[in-house]
Structures are given as C-alpha cells and as structure tokens.
Symmetry: C2
Subunit: 416 residues, 2 copies
C-alpha cells in the first residue's frame, strides 16, 4: 500500500556479503570467548585501502567500552578494519576501554595499519569480566584467515551471532557514473532490540567513493527509516552500533554533494538497511511471525514512524499475533500512547498476509469481518499491519515479531 | 533501604473495603455483558451524601467513552455514585458516549440522584459493540443489592475483575481532629498495565471532609509515587482511571489547606495506593513473582521514578527474574535508556528477598557474588531490586512482575 520509492529495479542483490564490494576481505574464527568451540566468536572485516567511515550508536546512557574507542578512532572520518567479538559485550567492565584499545593495537600491528583505523565492537553478556588472552590468540588467526570470498563474508557474519538463529548477510549492486558499485552488509539481532538512533550491530561495506560527511549524513538519515524502526522487546541495548566503510574502489567520482549520485547511493543504502531491519525482526528471539507495519496518512514522518514502532513494540499486540487473534483494539491502544500531536479518530486498519487481507477497523471503530478469514490471514509467517490515519500525507514502516513462549524461555536463561 | 516515611504506625488496616468509610454501600451483580453467568460484571458504589470527587485518567490518545462522561460529571468537584462494568471497555464504539450517558441516566433514576453525579467506568475488550440492554437489567439489580458490608465491598471488587486472579480490596483507619476517618479502595489489573498519570481502574472511598481541589491535589500527587509506578507489560490502557470520593461523614473539620490534616490524609492515601500498586503488580498477567524496585541516591525524584519504572518494565529483566537468573547487566541496561539527566557510572545493585540479599554490582561493574546464593534469593515469590545511583538524594519505588509463559498464553487468546 505504501509506495516503496526506493525499491527501484536497478538495484540487484548479489552474492558476497561484505566482501562483494571491491577491496574488502573478511574472516570469522573461534578465539575462546565462548566456551562452545564450534561457535565462532571473532569477526574481522578489512579494506585494502582506508575508507570513508560513518557510524551511529545507541542512545543508552550505559554504553559498551568499544563504542567510546570506535567513536575516537573514526573522529577523523576514516578507518580501515572492523573487529567484532560475540559472547561478551565488554560493557560495565572497569578495564573495558583499556582492553578494547589493546585489541586495536594487536590488530593494527598484525595488519600494519594504525590502531586508530580500527573500528571495534562487542556483543554478548553485559558485566562479565573479559580478558585479553582470547584476542591475543584470535586476532592473528583471524588475519591469517582473511579472504575476499562469499564464504569468508559468511564466516564473519556467523561470528557476530548471539541468539540469532541464522547469519544475516546481503549485498547489492548499482551504478554510479557508469561504474558498477556495491554495498555489502552484516547485521545481527536478536534480543535487547529496540534501537534508538542506532541498531544492534550492523556493518556495511561499499566500494563507492564518497566524502565522510556525506556518508555520515546518508547513514544518519537512513537509520530513522529502517534500523531504528525495529523492536523485538523494547530493550535498547548498551552496544548498538551501525557502521559503514566506503573505500572508493568502484572508481566513481567521489560523492561530495547531495546531487543525483548521492540520491542513488542513499536509495541503495535504504534498500539494504530495510532488508536488514526485516531480517532482524524475522529472527527476533523466539519469533514465529514477522510483523511488518505500514502507516500512511500521518501528519508527519515523525508521527508515522512513532505510530508504526509503537504498534510492533506492544507486548499485548505481539502476543495476540502469536495466538493469531485479530484483536485490533490493541493496535488502536498502541497508537494512542504514541507521543506526538495527531488525531486518532479516523483510523482504518487492515491485516494482510499471503492468505489474503481483512479490514478490521474503520473510522477508529469496529468494521465487520469474518473471524475465520482473519484467523487464516494471521496463520501465515509474515503479517502486514496496514494502518491509514487519514490525518495527513506522511508514511513510515516498522518491523517486529510476535511474543512467544520461546522468547520467555530464551531470556529466562540466556547466560547459561 | 528506602525510608518509608509514610508507613506510620497510626494507620491500621481494617475490614470493609470501599464500605469501610461511613455512608458508603456497594454491590456487584451479573448483568449479561459477560457470557459466563458465574462472573459478576457490574459494580456499584454509592454514598449516602454527595462527595468531593477527584480523578486522574490515562494519557492514551485513544480513550474509552466512559472517561469523557466521567470528566464532565465531576467537573464541579462532586459526585455520589460509581458504576463500572467489566467485559467490555466501551472504547472505539461509535455510540460509546451515548451509551455511557444512558447508563448514568438509568442509575440516577434508580437512586434518585442527578445523572451527572455518577462516575462511570468500563474495562474489557476494546472495539466490541456494547448494547444498553444488560445495563437496563443490571442497574436495578445492583441498586437492590446495595449493602454497607464487607461482603458487598468484595462483590463490587469481584465485578470489576478481568484477568485478575483475585479481588483487590483494602481499607485503613486513621485519625483527624480526634475523629476516626477511613479510606477504602478497589483496584484491578492485570494486563495493559503501564499507567501514565493514572492507572487501570482504582476506586477509593473516604469519609473524610475535604475540599475537592485539595482532594484532586492529593490524588494527582499520590499517583506519581504509587499507581503510576507499576508496569505489567508496557501497554498504557485506553481506560485507566483512578477516582476518589470523600463524603465527609467522619465529621473532621473540612480540609481546606495543606496543613497537618492534609499531610495526614495524604500519608494515609499513599499507604493505601502503594498497597494497591503492589497488589496489581503481584497479580500481573501470568506473574509468578512480584518485583519491587527501590531506587535511592538519584539526582531528582523524576529520575528516581523513571529509573525504577524502566527496570521493572524491561522484558529482558522480567524474563530473567522468571528464570531466577541474576543477570544484573539487564538492570544496568534498563537504567541506561531511562530519559533524564543523570550519571550511570557509580551504581550499586543488591537483589534481596526472604532468602537473603546478594550484592551483584558496585561502581556500575561486576561485584563478585555466589550464583548459588543469588539463585536462592531469586527463587522467592517477592524480589526486591535495591539500586543506589550515588548521584543525589532522591528516592522512588516501582512495582512489576516477571514475564512468563502464561503471560503469552493469556494474551495469545484473551478475547475468547
């Protein structure tokens, strides 16, 4: 129902993940932070040359040590490598920043690049002591394993997983100045997901030539419409970070203003980040259903985003979706506690899936529908919640998942 | 750890619920809104004389029709009766206000009082058509059943229950001007509970003589520290309402300023509302544990309240408590996404229950503790989360419950 302006045919998904853009290699190894030796826990992404680099971070006031180090390292707008461990968030550790810097030193030495060209990230349990020893062993192994192949990109994606049930990696190709350009991405969920100006962990590579300030602008704009529009459980993590590295190897004229080339890059970035948002939601902890909310007719983009996110973040609505119960009053309730100035008096709501579409509410009141038909629509694995506020022209989307027994099970005993 | 200034020995819990204050009678009957005939669905509370009346309401932008009618009826500061049905929220019904006014007319006629001295409330499913017919039958029956007895107060408390597993009714006695005075309360949960400037449904009676403006001030102040400090699921209802009726039958000198008598009344009101907050949390949908968070050392009362509520509202922390997992990093994470200006660098955290106390965090970092001992503490039914921010002098409390399989089960199929 909402025009996906950005879904232009000239964008083609390709293989290779973060290694699809020219000049990038990657690896994933087991270094011993996790006890399970079959689970990789250290990911590395390296560019042949320095990259324009931009990032957005969690707004949580308690932040992981790696975020402070990364902020300092990319203050000049450039970096060349990304190092990320899973199994320990390196958050609420007294020696966290010292440790993160020591890891960057080790990697800089191994790659013969300055330590302050390393982006560092961590994900896992908060407040667990983290020694340097696994990194001392793992960093040389990760460097030795670097390869510019789809398999290497997948290995890196697997190494950042926590409760994710599958690795999330994608790439796409588009054209600038007649040159083929590429974007590659690794992203992960799957609990403590309610990003606020950033998302869990997302690493994006590109061979586009672009000035760091415009790269930052593109990423900061983009997350509002995709990575910040996800919620699994309403818990904003301490370690959320999305970072993009662009090394210019595609040979396009460096993007220095917001003209046509910037708009094309922006559109390609949106397509990839919307893909990531959808995958994070689909693989939410314990999820059996993907919930995709599209709001239109809102007074402003801010209201549209806020309403869409409020709906997919409602525990009550998420539990109703688990039960395939068309309890649309819970959608209206969630709209009502959204912040912002708007009218909630003329809302229309349709639930849609591969099994059909059922209008359940019009003029903010009951619209007669068949419960049997609704149950059929809601039995599918992907549910669209189509809400028209009839209050303006703005649109937005948000992605979430149902609330299930397994979410409770996973989080009742996550540490063990 | 936090001084309960209000827990003064001169307050004594007594029997009688909302009928404990002089001049109040109550009843609860089955009128047919619910299909289950063994479940009462219409509650009535009546005072012999007109009462100073104050109320606070949900901030949800989608509001139940009864709220608009009640707002209008108590605009003059007075009322004489409260009518509340369960089984249908009378929200998102095109004829909702007309119906609510018709109910007040019926009750006014039956009691020989003006219809605009009736407070009306509804709780149940949103967006379900609601006919007048059950009220036409039920209101005369409820009036006929009125009695000034503990059994009648209990019947009224039972008639407002939805997914509550037990009726929540209480009363206490205190002294003003040498006269014994009383406060009685009915409150209910137990899902869609994340009140914002009001709570689900709470009806308070008193025989104190007090001016309506001071009664409103007392209630508005009080809910900040008790009824607004609960969260079951983060969903702010469309029908939240707390209302207090004071008929002056105790014979104290009418409270007209915020002197000693006001302070005593305020303290008694706090004790009763804190009791209600605790009971609503204990009986949260699917709950197996009561979570009571006490924050001290905060920069301001606002920060203290916000931090306490953020902790007990975190799905991740609630699931960890269900699993008796001392995953304290989730508490720090929840503190971090609290709004407001504060330092999160010197937090100490202790988990406490009838089985003992375990300090798990100091200076916002891991504090060595025995996992076995922590598991024993968390196996109890009532858990205290004691958090010292070392950032100021302010204190606050909040009440919640664990997130369980049963919460998901109840809400996956609430309507049927």
């Amino acid at each position: 129902m909402i025009a996906e302006d950005y879904m232009q045919p000239e964008f083609t998904y390709i293989d290779g993940g973060v290694c699809a853009p020219q000049g990038f290699s990657a690896s994933g190894v087991h270094c011993g932070i996790r006890k399970n030796r079959s689970k990789a826990d250290l990911a590395l992404i390296v560019s042949r040359t320095r990259c324009a680099t931009a990032a957005v971070y969690t707004t949580n006031k308690v932040q992981g040590a790696p975020l402070a180090v990364t902020r300092a390292h990319i203050a000049d707008g450039y970096s060349q490598a990304v190092l990320c461990n899973s199994g320990n968030a390196n958050t609420c550790n007294p020696n966290g920043e010292t440790l993160a810097r020591a890891c960057c030193d080790l990697l800089g030495d191994a790659l013969h690049i300055p330590a302050n060209d390393v982006v560092i990230a961590s994900t896992g349990v908060i407040g667990q002591p983290l020694p340097l020893e696994p990194f001392a062993r793992g960093i040389p192994a990760a460097v030795a394993a670097l390869a510019a192949t789809p398999a290497a990109a997948l290995a890196a994606a697997e190494a950042v997983m926590t409760t994710d049930t599958y690795a999330k990696t994608q790439a796409l190709e588009f054209t600038l100045d007649g040159k083929p350009c590429r974007l590659g991405i690794i992203t992960k969920g799957s609990g403590m997901i309610h990003p606020n100006m950033a998302t869990m962990l997302t690493f994006i590579t590109s061979d586009v030539a672009i000035a760091p300030t415009l790269l930052q602008r593109a990423l900061s704009e983009e997350v509002k419409d995709s990575l910040n529009q996800i919620s699994i459980d309403g818990d904003t993590s301490t370690n959320d970070m999305a970072v993009i590295l662009a090394n210019g190897a595609a040979g396009n004229a460096e993007i220095r203003d917001d003209g046509a080339a910037y708009q094309t890059f922006r559109a390609a970035l949106h397509r990839l980040c919307a893909w990531a948002a959808r995958e994070i939601a689909r693989d939410g902890e314990g999820a059996t259903k993907l919930l995709h909310c599209r709001v239109r007719g809102a007074r402003s983009p801010e209201v549209a985003r806020s309403v869409a996110k409020s709906i997919i973040a409602s525990d009550l609505f998420k539990a109703a979706m688990f039960g395939a119960d068309a309890n649309w009053g819970r959608v209206l309730c969630a709209v009502g506690y959204t912040t912002g100035d708007f009218s909630a008096n003329n809302i229309a709501l349709t639930l849609q899936s591969a099994a059909g579409a059922v209008k359940v509410c019009e003029h903010s009141a009951y619209h007669p529908f068949s419960e049997d038909e609704a149950a059929k629509v809601l039995a599918e694995k992907e549910i669209e919640i189509l809400l028209d506020m009839h209050d303006g022209e703005a649109q937005a989307q948000a992605w979430g998942c149902d609330l299930t027994y397994d979410y409770v099970k996973i989080n009742g005993d996550y540490r063990s």
